[in-house]
Symmetry: C2
């Protein structure tokens, strides 16, 4: 797989690439403005599921990023679509902030949907989910990221809870957001662009780069956010490029 130069569209991860918490990463606002001037179509793909999609967009706009709601594809919205398409009646264990966006739990659930409930991942809530899984209900997880970068350091992401529930129930989860192929393919379909003609920029070796590559999309890994030096020595996952930050990634795409 090789990086097309220039590509016909750019897929961009948010947290760890453009910002950490409420802070834009150095140079990222200007680099996105430069990418905008190229006229390339953009899609922003995020597995963040502690906030509703509208808040994700508003937060980035407040930091100075030029992006529009229609360009942002979140694991929350992808889950909402999947649930509707399959006619599912989920029991939700998600962050209360996305309750309005995702809807209420069914009283007669036929599946469990897990988001990043963060501080709301209580033992009691997990045990309710565990018992539903032991009754045979399938588990859908919005994401299974291992960790993410916060202002004060790496923090545990929802993947820990997905892995834990899989271990105790013996049932594998279906992942809706990255690294699921379908999540990347939705973005490509909306853009009307072939996988090999796109490029993804992300800070998560497994879920951004590995996921994009599994869908046939070349990937540029940035050394910001959750990036760790050992990511460059991974046995099987090799990004098409590894660059210092989003500014360098935009340069790699355009120059």
């Amino acid at each position: 797989m090789t990086l097309r130069h220039p590509p016909q569209a750019v897929l961009i991860d948010l947290a760890g690439v453009l910002h950490t918490g409420d802070m834009a990463l150095p140079g990222a606002v200007a680099a996105l403005a430069r990418l905008r001037r190229s006229g390339l179509p953009l899609r922003f793909l995020t597995n963040t599921t502690r906030s509703p999609s509208a808040s994700v967009v508003a937060r980035l706009q407040r930091m100075g990023f030029d992006l529009r709601p229609g360009e942002v594809q979140t694991a929350v919205l992808a889950t909402r679509k999947l649930v509707a398409m399959r006619g599912l009646k989920p029991h939700y264990l998600v962050h209360p902030d996305i309750a309005d966006e995702i809807g209420p739990s069914s009283r007669q659930p036929d599946c469990v949907v897990l988001g990043d409930a963060g501080a709301y991942f209580s033992y009691e809530a997990l045990n309710v989910v565990f018992r539903l899984l032991m009754q045979g209900l399938p588990l859908l997880a919005m994401a299974r990221n291992r960790y993410f970068m916060e202002e004060d350091g790496l923090s545990l992401d929802m993947g820990a809870y997905v892995a834990g529930l899989e271990y105790s129930s013996g049932r594998p989860a279906e992942i809706v957001g990255k690294p699921a192929r379908a999540f990347f393919e939705t973005a490509l379909a909306e853009l009307g662009i072939a996988a090999a003609d796109a490029v993804l920029i992300g800070d998560d070796l497994a879920d951004d780069i590995g996921g994009a590559q599994s869908a046939g999309i070349p990937g540029i890994l940035v050394r910001t956010g959750k990036f760790r030096p050992e990511d460059e020595q991974h046995a099987t996952l090799r990004p098409q490029r590894v660059v210092d930050d989003f500014t360098a990634a935009v340069a790699a795409v355009l120059d």
Copy 2:
């Protein structure tokens, strides 16, 4: 591996074999009394780490079981010994009820020790542990049981949290209680009995039977507690006997 008849000692799991919560299982008090009359040395092995060892013993005695503190080997006490033997300075994430038995966390920890904190497994507490693991500290877990039987059904056990932390940190945990070979070997050493001359009675196919067998001890699985019908069809784990309950297990040992 075959069941010696009669064996020279009997190792017995507690929860799910003798009792569920505060309820003795039907016939179990009388069956233990019968086993006592045989004069065989007994050891009670438990991975329950939500209560101090003294409470575990007192609770069983209140239900009418004839057992003495010196006969009960808990994952909590085994961990305390291991920490002392290795001179470790742990950060503890454990249930507050065992804080007195296990001691305080070190301010300069060199490892993390996980017990079944139950309702105290908060996101915040797990994230503190996660960050210590990412700094390179090793993880010791008192147990990694998948689930256990409560009065109102199967419940999530601490194994879910161990598996989740392993997944996110990329670091495997060392298990102190069952199914660790060393845990069974400690019991054999105290009894001065060879593995093949003992027998274990338990309700957990992986952690009781599988663990005992890995130490060379034949195992009898009871169809009580967390037992599930699919345990009898397991691809690789085969108990020496599967019987309905503790009464039948005692009969299999003595008759």
